[in-house]
Amino acid sequence: MTQLSSVRKSVLAGIILGLFLIYGLKLFSMQIVFNRKFEDKSTDNSIKAIEQMPLRGVFYDRNLKLLVQNVPSYTVRITPSEYDTLTNPMLEALLQLPKDTISHIMQKHKKYGKYQPVKIKKGASFEEIGWLEENSERFPGVDYIIEIKRGYTNTFSAAHVLGYLKETNENDLKKDSFYTLGDNLGMNGIEKSYEKELRGEKGFNYILVNATRRKIGRYKDGTVDLASIKGKDLVLSLDSGAQATAEQVMHGRSGAIIAIEPSSGEILAFTSAPDYDLSKFSDITPKEYMRDLISNPLKPQFNRATQSTHSPGSTFKVLVALCGLEVGAINENSTIYCPGSYTYGNRTFKCHGSHGATTVYRALEGSCNVFFYKLIFEIGVDRLNEFAKKFKIGTKTGIDLLEESKGLIPSSAYYEKVYGNNWPRGILVSVGIGQGEVSMSPLQLAFMTALVANNGKSFTPHLVKGYLDEKRKFVPYKFDEVITGVSDRNIRIIKKGMWLVVNGGGGTAKNIRSSEVVIAGKTGTVQNVHGRNHSLFVGFAPYDNPKIAIAVLFENAGYGSEVAAPVAEEVILAYLRSTGDIKPKPKEDKPKKDKKTNDTLDLITAIEENR
C-alpha cells in the first residue's frame, strides 16, 4: 500500500511539475522570445471593440400605421485622453456652444476616466459635422457619432401611452449590465414597460488603432464584426382615429378617456389630459418647458387614466346591481321601494325623485339612489369587495404600463382598521352609489364595462398587441384571460338596464341616443368638494355585438349626462365608422353635432384611404 501510494504521489508530482514547466516555457516564449511581436501589437496595432448600438424598435398602431420612428441625429464627442483643451474656444465657436461649456462638461465627467468619450453637443447640424470632418487634424480626440432620436409621425399625442427616452446614468448601469454610459433608456409609458423588447442587441465592430488610439483600419476587413440586432417593432392596440377623436374632445380639459375592445382587452384609445409634448423630450429638453411642466398645478405628466382614482359615482351602480343579482339579494322582478329619500339613523339621504316600487331595470335607467342605498345592506360590503376583485377593481388590472393604481373597494376589515371595531354602518349607504371610500381608476371603469359588454370575460387590458418580425409578419403577444364567472342571465339583465339608460324613456343619457348605432351605458356625477362636479360615463356599442367599451371622466365639468356622455358617443361613433361597423351618414343628417365631429370624420376617412 505505502509503496503503491508513493508511486501515485510521484505521478501527481510529475503532472504538477509538467504543468509548471509547460506554462513557464510558454510564458518565457511569449514574454522574452517573442516579446517584440506582442509589444508591437500592443503599441501599434491594437484591436479595439467598438459597440454598435442597435436601432430601437418603432411603434405602429393597430392598422400598422407608423406612430413613432427613429430619426438620425449627430452627437459630437470628446475623448479626454487625446483631447487638447487649448482648442476649447475654437470648438465652442464652431459648434455654437456658450463659452466654457466644454470645460464645464468635461469637469463633470472627470470621474468616468479619461478614456471614456464625453458628449458635448447633441443634434449638431450637417454643416457643423462637415466642418469638423474637414478639420479633424486640428481637433484630436474630437469625433461624432450618429445617434437616433424619436420622431413622432402621428396626428395625436398619446404622451402617457408612448412615453419618452432618457440617457442612462450610473444607477442604471449598476442595475443592468446591458447599458453603457449615455445609452438611451425608456423613461415611462410603453418605452419603459417594453424596454427589453425595444432595445435590441448590441453589436461590435473591431477596429485597429495605433499608439495614439487613432483608428487605422478595420480588423480583418470587418469580416468578424458582429452586427447589432434591431429591437422589436411593436404593434399597438391603439386605433389612430379613435385616439385622435378622444384627444380632440379632451382638449383644454382635465380627465381621461379609455376605450377597450371588449372581446380582446385591446385598448383602442387612451388619453389623459392635460398631456405634454413628447417631441420636446427627443433632444435635450428645453429648461423652460420642463419648468412649466413641473409647475403646472394640473400635473400634465401624471397619468390620470391609470394612476388617478376617483369615486366612480353612479357608474358604480352597474357593479353593485350585478353583485346583488349574483349573490341573490335581488332578481329580475324583485322591487325595492323608493319614497324619494332614505333615512339611516338620524341622517336622511336624498334621491333624484320618488321612483316608487323600483326594479333593477328602472333603478339603472333612472339612477335611483334609494334602490342602491338599500341593496348594499343586503349584499354586505365584504361580498361586494370580493366580487369587485373579479372585475380587477381594488386590485391592479395588469395593464402593460408600469404605473397603475389599485383603487379601493372597502371591506369590513378596512373599516375596522380605519374606524375601529364599532365602525358606523351608515358609511355603507354611500358605497352603494359609488361614493365615500370607493375609488377606481378610469382604466378600471373601462375594463369593468368591457367585461360586462363581453358577458363577463375578456383579456387583461393591454396597449401592445404584438410585434412585427424580420419578415414584417405580425406576431401576437399572449395575454391572460380574465373570467369573472358571472352568469349570462344576470349580465343580460344589467346590459338591458344600461340599454334603458340611453334608450329608455326615463334614461339619464337619452340625449345621446343615436340613429346610427345602439349604445348602452351608465352616467355618473360625482360631487367634488374642491369645485364643480366630476362628469362620468361608461358605455359600450353596438348593443347586440359590442365592439367598443368606453369610460370617460371629465374633472370639474358638470353632470355626467351633459358632458361625458356626448363625448363618449362621439368617440364610439368615430371608431365604429372607421371599422366599417356603421356606415358613415351624409353630414347633413347630424345637424346637432358641432364642427369637431366633421373634422374627425374627415380625418378618419383620410386614414382609411391611406391604408
Binding site: 501527481l12 511539475l17 504543468l19 510564458l27 516579446n35 509589444e39 501589437k41 500592443s42 503599441t43 478614456y115
Partner: protein
C-alpha cells in the same frame, strides 16, 4: 513556549506564506484593473472584506476537531444539492450563466461550495470497507454521487466548474488505487462524448482507440461488448442531445470548442490576453501602467483574466514568481496528502489539491492560449468573494488535517 513550539511544528508556514504572497499579487492586480472603471471601483475594498471573512473562517476550521469533517458529509452534500437546484430557480444571471444567488450585498455562487461537499461525500464513499474499484456497480454509484451536482451545474451553464468536478472524480479514483482497466472504463465515455462534437472522423477515431484498448485488456466477451455499447451510446446521446438544443445554446457549446467561432466573446478575449502578457517583457510595464489593462481591452479583467494584469504590468519576472508560488502550494499539499495515514483524510486532501490544480491549469492555460477560453477563476488571485471563501475553507481543511495527522498516527 511549549504550546507555540507545538503549533509551529504542525502549521505549514511555507504553504501559508506562499498563499499570502499570491493574495498580495491578486490584490495589486485587482486594484490596478478596477481603479479606472467606475462601476467596479469598489471591487478592491470588497475583496479585502471577503479576505478578512475568509481568514476568520480559515482559522475557525483550522481549530475544529478533525473528526467533525466526517460528520459534515451527509448534510453538506444535501445542502449543496438543494442550493444548486435553488440557483436554477431563483438564481441571478451574470455573464450568461444563472449561477448566483442574490444575498443583498454579496452574490453567493453555490457551485463553489458544492465542490467541497461533493468531495467529502465521494471520499467517504471510497473509504467504505470492501469497495472494489473494478466492480462496475461501485464505480456506477460513485459516478452518480459525483455527477449529479455536475448535471445541475451544466444547466446553469458553467462548463469550467463541471470540468473541475470531472478532474476531481478521476484524481480520487486514481489516489484510491484504481486499475488501468478501471481508469479506462471511467475515462472512455466522456472522451468519446467530447470527440463526437468535432465530427464523424473524430468519432470513428475514438471508436478505433476504444476497440484497441478493449483488445489489449482481454476481458470476457460480455464485459467487452457492453463497454463497446456504452461508448457507442454515449456518442449518439451527445449527437441527439446536441440536436435538440436551441441555436443559441449550440453556439455557446461550439465556442468552447473553437473560440474563433465567437469573435465577440472568447476569440477576442484570447487574442487580447496574449497581447497583454506577451507585451509585458522581462520586467513588465509597471504597476498601473499596462496599456492593455488600463485601456480595458479585455472585459472583466479583474476576475478570470487577472493573470493578464500580472503578465503585463510585472512581466516574466512577476509571472514566474506567481506560478512558482502555485508550485509550492501544490507540492506542500501533496506532501500532506501523502503523509496522512487515514484514507478518508488523505483522499480529502488530494481532492482539494486536484481542485486547486485544475483551476490553475485551465485559468493560466486559457490566458496564455493553450486551453480554450473557459471562465474559471485563478485561486487566491482572481476577484470574487465566493471563490475566495471556498478556497480558504478548503485550505483550512488541509491545515486541519495536517495538524491532526500525528494524532491519528
Amino acid at each position: 513556549m511549549k504550546l507555540g513550539g507545538k503549533l509551529s511544528s504542525k502549521f505549514d508556514f511555507i504553504l501559508f506564506g506562499a498563499v499570502l504572497i499570491l493574495l498580495v499579487f491578486g490584490l495589486l492586480a485587482i486594484y490596478s484593473s478596477t481603479q479606472n472603471v467606475t462601476q467596479v471601483r469598489n471591487n478592491f475594498e470588497k475583496q479585502i472584506f471577503a479576505l478578512g471573512l475568509s481568514l476568520v473562517l480559515f482559522f475557525i476550521i483550522y481549530g475544529l476537531p478533525t473528526t467533525l469533517i466526517r460528520t459534515m458529509v451527509p448534510w453538506g452534500y444535501g445542502v449543496s444539492i438543494t442550493l444548486l437546484i435553488a440557483v436554477l430557480i431563483f438564481g441571478k444571471t451574470i455573464g450568461g450563466a444563472k449561477a448566483w444567488i442574490d444575498l443583498g450585498p454579496l452574490n453567493l455562487q453555490p457551485a463553489e461550495f458544492s465542490k467541497i461537499a461533493t468531495l467529502l461525500a465521494l471520499a467517504s464513499y471510497l473509504e467504505l470497507k470492501g469497495q472494489d474499484l473494478d466492480d462496475i456497480k461501485v464505480i456506477g454509484k460513485y459516478l452518480l454521487i459525483g455527477l449529479f451536482p455536475v448535471a445541475l451545474i451544466m444547466l446553469e451553464p458553467d462548463l469550467g466548474s463541471s470540468l473541475v468536478y470531472f478532474g476531481m472524480l478521476l484524481t480520487l479514483l486514481f489516489w484510491r488505487g484504481i486499475s488501468s482497466f478501471g481508469l479506462f472504463v471511467v475515462l472512455a465515455p466522456p472522451l468519446v462524448m467530447i470527440s463526437s462534437l468535432f465530427g464523424i472522423w473524430y468519432i470513428l477515431g475514438a471508436f478505433v482507440i476504444v476497440a484497441a484498448f478493449l483488445i489489449v485488456f482481454k476481458r470476457n466477451i460480455f464485459i467487452t461488448s457492453s463497454l463497446l455499447a456504452i461508448n457507442f451510446a454515449s456518442a449518439f446521446f451527445v449527437k441527439y442531445f446536441f440536436n435538440i438544443l436551441s441555436p443559441h445554446q449550440k453556439k455557446r457549446i461550439l465556442s468552447f470548442i473553437d473560440p474563433n467561432s465567437d469573435p465577440l466573446g472568447a476569440g477576442y478575449n484570447a487574442i487580447q490576453a496574449q497581447i497583454a502578457i506577451g507585451s509585458g517583457g522581462m520586467w513588465g510595464k509597471g504597476f498601473m501602467s499596462g496599456s492593455q489593462t488600463q485601456l480595458q481591452f479585455i472585459p472583466e479583467l479583474w476576475s478570470d483574466f487577472i493573470f493578464c494584469v500580472i503578465g503585463e504590468e510585472f512581466g516574466f519576472f512577476g509571472s514566474i514568481i506567481v506560478i512558482s508560488l502555485f508550485l509550492v502550494v501544490f507540492l506542500r499539499i501533496l506532501k500532506i496528502a501523502g503523509e496522512t495515514k487515514n484514507e478518508f483524510l488523505s483522499l480529502v486532501t488530494v481532492g482539494i489539491l486536484s481542485i486547486f490544480v485544475i483551476h490553475f491549469a485551465i485559468n493560466i492555460g486559457m490566458v496564455v492560449g493553450i486551453v480554450p477560453v473557459i471562465g474559471i477563476p485563478l485561486p487566491f488571485v482572481s476577484y470574487g468573494g465566493s471563490s475566495l471563501l471556498s478556497n480558504f475553507i478548503m485550505l483550512g481543511v488541509v491545515f486541519n488535517i495536517a495538524r491532526s495527522k500525528q494524532v491519528i498516527n
